[in-house]
Symmetry: C2
Subunit: 724 residues, 2 copies
């Protein structure tokens, strides 16, 4: 059955390669279009090369440290993970920089929405398929080499005493290393890309829209190419490696938990056998393989569709619904087949499976349902079709201060509903299949990630296509088509963000439980006791961590954006004729400012998640780190929802104002100026802070999980206590 | 020793009465000044009467419910608490509306800063002394009538079995009722007053400063009287009952914990005797009585000082330092005397007292130190004398969007340092004196609350005096003196906010521990296990609660402010001659808008803290409510620090811009406009949301503590589980 993983991975990567080549063969359009897209491509390549150089230096350092402190297997797995995630991000970004101009050209040639959507989606599907393909390929390699080949995964009742003598299971450590490798790439891509894209975006808007009153993507704006580069490095590569990391995190937390449950069962004598362990380990792998194949089918159904509807949103939704529906259906069959051989009563007793052989499937389905509802809630709060964003847009008539105030209120109020769903999801999936169920619900949310990433990546590609159309001065009809695509992209992005934080939260919780298993004795009950002063202090300090992290990120964006503002102002001042369109601005300097700003500012926040749990662990011990994990997970969920919805609502509120549907609004009105302030404030919140937070909590959990094997025994606090 | 409480309370109330009469006898100044202050007084009285009518209706309903569900003793104590807190707020507000005009007049007559400070401080001291005096008077009454008179406090080893048969100790329930009464008044005063004051302030600023470009407190602004009324109902009455509630919460959590520790010790057979229980119960009462007497002396030392320095900040600090120093010194003596009779070894074994007889004192001193450091950190982040606020002011040169972005970053980053102090404080006080130590450190922070409230109330009185001076067209010299007083008031307010949230957090944690004791068996170890899915789900939903609450409050302020904006615009438009100063605006309508807005909007958020834990408890049981408490406590701490510091920094950043010290800034510059946007956004954050959150968490904890006796046994989840 493990070969299903390999088949799915190869199928996905093959499909990705086919789509890559197909897109690249399409015509690029006019010479001017080629020039512009060339400039964007060069900028994106330069940034990602430079970023990867720093990233892989840090990865190498962490791998060496890991080999010394834990095992060399984990270090190698870390490298494998970082390569898989790095490849996915790189390939996805590469195709996005080819696809953007081809989308614009297809719109120019056919003037047909459906045909244009297909090109953008084909480009986006490469990113999606790479996420699923590379992630599973890596897991397959790690499982076959270390798990099967070196026997790490072969733990039976015979190795019982041996196992409990160690404070960790060897394969869970290796798998954690793999997950950590993926997470590190995601962190750097998200933070670096996030700072890059928003510094460019804010810089371009602050001078272009607010001071010079020229439209978005106007070629007279020196920061406009940097802004488009940012879409590719931030919203494509960043998003891809982010979801790859969530995907791997969810899968590995399920597998790691299976091993811990096995150890615990052995210690308690409730008698889980090797066969059940094997099934528990294989189920997540089989389930995500099914999800990947279903996603491939869903993508194909859209790409080979003859009659596209006029509404791209409906076609894209059909793809996602097909993938998720097929996953759930096939998942039901596999759950029955795999767990059907075990007795319901014993499953219930050993693992808390309340629904017998259906239990893991029920938990996964709960996850899928929760993900869909959370996504819908994100749409409700951020779409101009609903009350909250319309109210927000209306406050813009009263000026910038009330726009900000109302947006903050909207974001804060929007936290409750998704948290109710998350809470209900946790209780339901736990009732269905115990702790393992919580991990399965995270995995359920992410099982058809290839479809969702494909849809998500379609957004920035369309955005870029619109930018190229504008800069190349294409016909208004073309721009209208790309605008249609772009506005659909905004909605899918909001839904995607809800999905990312929901699944991230569940995966982080599953990892946290694995963490607790790693240092607690298996024969005591598992507790994270917030009445312990160490844990409580950890929870309070942990709660402050995501705020510190978010504040640092916002400040980093603001700093780089300010430099960009100065440069754009300088160019307008010193190079005469730019605003009249007589001379070309100096795009390159702006690209350099964004690159340098991002590279310079990303280091400290990225390292925070890796360094804090390790340092705290060695000084204050595992209870304190446990507190840190729960505190930062809870606060990260809140900030991610708050920033995502507030930012999304400001963005769409501004668009609603631009549509002029409210009396006294429209482009150029004072209400529009106020709405632009809201949008600008929301930019770093929704596109830098929010998306980085789910990586932040997972990387902290994974690092703690890896390091706890060491600091559980050796820490300063325990040593001091030992002195008395 | 219990009579010390009575003596201290009577001393404080006598001193308050003396200061009240002294202030009221001072001359009021010109006829115009009398008119203006009369209008403010009438507005404030009208609002507080209307607010109290609603408040006491709700209190009465809760009391009846409580008498039915728990005990009638608790219901009566609730009424006593609400009357004490209501009186303190009422008297403090009353004197503030007398003192404001007299401060302005003293400045006019003497043109001396020191003399003027004395009047403002004498007015403020009435509020401070009422907080300490009424709080202790109420506790004394409750203790003597129910504890001693009806024997509820007399629990010895003889009543052992009897005690464990009940799921709560009768006196702890009565005391919780008293604390809840105080909390309910605080909630309504803070929320109602907070909405009132910020709606008026924002409304006045949005049209006055931003559109009409007239200065603050200009009599041509129709909302200016409402703004000054707001200072009295929000910043005086609200602040007073807020700190009274924290004070009572900290004292009662110590006493309640003492009873729980006694019960636990009996159940475990570690042998705490009645004498030690008595001492543990009396110690907090003695300590705060000492603190109250020391505060009286500190206040007197300032009021009867002959040679005031030129720097009011130094004189005010001297008062606080004297009070806190004397409290610590006398507290050391009382700790030694009271606990000296017990053996160190047995104290250590039974209660975890690591420092023998000094233990409770050490914990209290840790609290005082933590409070002072947290206050200093708040000053660092919000004062224009330090880097963060100066940097923020500098970003105003780049426009409103970056001012907001940078301010959000500053607020978020500022969460970490105070949380580190809180975490360290928890660990240190726990090490010194166990769980009891955590409660003692909260009590330590608040023991000299009379001095800090006196200093805090001095601020809004000075603010009002400045407003009256401006409106009455007094000499520029007078306005300069009141401005000096006002700027000192801003700093003391920032420090006071740090203090409030720090002590609120510790008191809430102590109450939470009491809550856990209330439903767990005494012979099992006390745990709040976040791995339990019910608790975990509760923590996530609990984390979203303060965000919901904050969002509702911000929206309430924005809604009322928008109405105010419309009214002010209407008056400027429809009543010709206002802006030329030829005709008086219609102040009364603006006062009515603020009143109606506050009264209408305060109900739902105020009830949230009372209703949520009860409803959740009856549906999902005590574990879920435990999770709610920890989740909302952690997130409330973060939001309170974040909003307080961001708002304070925007406020002082604007003042720094106005000072013109940065090139290109100064009043009327574009940078100033941007800074005003920041200040306006910050207003509801720092003065409505932040201060309400510490009440929010304590009221939730107290309500849970009261209701758990019922819902621990009777809840829907347990009933459903029982069906299977």
């Amino acid at each position: 059955m493990i070969y299903l993983v390999f088949i799915a991975a190869v199928l996905a990567l093959g499909f990705a390669a086919f789509n890559f080549v197909t897109v690249k063969r399409m015509p690029e359009g006019t010479k001017q279009m080629q020039e512009i897209s060339g400039a964007i491509r060069v900028g994106a390549n330069a940034f990602i090369h430079y970023e990867y150089r720093i990233l892989y230096t840090v990865v190498a350092a962490v791998a060496v440290l890991m080999a010394v402190v834990t095992t060399w297997h984990a270090a190698v797995a870390l490298l494998v993970g970082s390569i898989m995630s790095g490849c996915a991000g790189f390939v996805g970004m590469k195709i996005a920089t080819y696809a953007n101009v081809r989308v614009a050209n297809r719109a120019r040639e056919t003037e047909n929405v459906g045909e244009t959507v297909k090109v953008a989606f084909r480009g986006g599907s490469v990113m999606g398929l790479c996420v699923g393909g590379f992630a599973l390929l890596g897991i397959f390699l790690v499982y076959m080499v270390f798990g099967v080949g070196m026997g790490q995964a072969r733990i039976t009742s015979a190795s019982y005493t041996n196992l409990l003598g160690l404070s960790f299971c060897p394969f869970t450590m290796t798998l954690s290393g793999y997950a950590l490798g993926c997470s590190m790439v995601a962190m750097f891509n998200r933070v670096g890309g996030g700072i890059y894209t928003k510094a460019a975006d804010m810089g371009a808007d602050l001078v272009g829209k607010t001071e010079a009153h020229i439209p978005e993507d106007d070629p007279r704006n020196p920061a406009t190419i940097a802004d488009n580069v940012g879409d590719n490095v931030g919203d494509v590569a960043g998003l891809g490696s982010d979801l790859l990391e969530s995907y791997v995190g969810a899968i590995s937390s399920g597998i790691i938990l299976a091993y811990h449950l096995f150890s615990k069962s052995l210690a308690e004598g409730t008698g889980m056998d090797g066969e059940l362990l094997q099934t528990l380990v294989l189920f997540p792998l089989v389930f995500v393989s099914i999800g990947l194949i279903a996603s491939c089918l869903g993508i194909a159904s859209l790409l080979f569709k003859k009659n596209m509807s006029d509404d791209p949103h409906r076609d894209l939704n059909a793809c996602t619904y097909f993938a998720s529906g097929a996953t759930i259906l096939l998942g039901l069959i596999s759950s029955c087949l795999m767990f059907g051989g075990f007795e319901s009563a014993s499953l219930k007793e050993i693992l808390g499976f309340q629904c017998g052989q259906f239990s893991p499937w029920v938990a996964a389905t709960v996850g899928v349902a929760a993900g869909v509802v959370i996504g819908m809630l994100a749409e409700y709060y951020t779409s101009a079709g609903f009350k909250p964003t319309r109210n927000l847009a209306r406050t813009s008539l009263e000026g910038a201060a009330l726009t900000i105030t109302q947006g903050l209120a909207l974001g804060m109020k929007s936290c409750m509903a998704p948290c109710l769903i998350l809470g209900a999801g946790i209780i339901a999936s736990y009732q269905a299949a115990g702790m393992y169920g919580v991990a399965m619900s995270a995995m359920g949310m992410l099982s058809f990630v290839t479809a969702t990433v494909s849809v998500d990546t379609y957004g920035p590609i369309s955005d870029n296509a619109g930018g190229i159309a504008e800069m190349a001065g294409l016909d208004a009809k073309v721009r209208k088509i790309t605008d249609t695509l772009d506005s659909v992209g905004n909605t899918t992005a909001a839904i995607g963000k809800g999905f990312a934080i929901g699944s991230g939260a569940l995966a982080a919780l599953a990892l946290m439980i694995s963490y607790l298993y790693s240092y607690n004795d298996f024969d005591t009950e598992l507790i994270l006791n917030l009445i312990e002063p160490m844990t409580l202090a950890g929870a309070i300090i942990g709660g402050a961590l995501p705020f510190l992290f978010s504040g640092m990120l916002i400040e980093a964006v603001a700093k780089a954006a300010r430099k960009m503002v100065e440069e754009v102002r300088r160019q307008f001042r010193e190079i005469p004729g730019i605003l009249e369109g007589k001379r070309k601005p100096d795009y390159k300097t702006c690209i350099e400012i964004s690159s340098k700003g991002a590279i310079g500012e990303m280091k400290i926040p990225s390292m925070l998640a890796i360094v804090v749990p390790v340092v705290c662990g060695f000084i204050l011990g595992p209870e304190f780190v446990g507190g840190i994990l729960i505190g930062s997970t809870i606060c990260s969920i809140m900030i991610a929802i708050f920033t995502g919805n507030a930012g999304g609502a400001w963005d769409n509120g501004k668009k609603y104002i631009e549509s002029g549907e409210i009396a006294g609004s429209g482009k150029g009105s004072p209400a529009h100026d106020a709405a632009v302030v809201g949008d600008t404030v929301g930019d770093p919140l929704k596109d830098t802070v929010g998306p980085c937070l789910d990586i932040f909590i997972k990387i902290m959990s994974t690092v703690s999980l890896v390091a706890v094997a060491v600091f559980a025994e050796h820490n300063l606090a325990a040593w001091i206590m030992g002195l008395f």
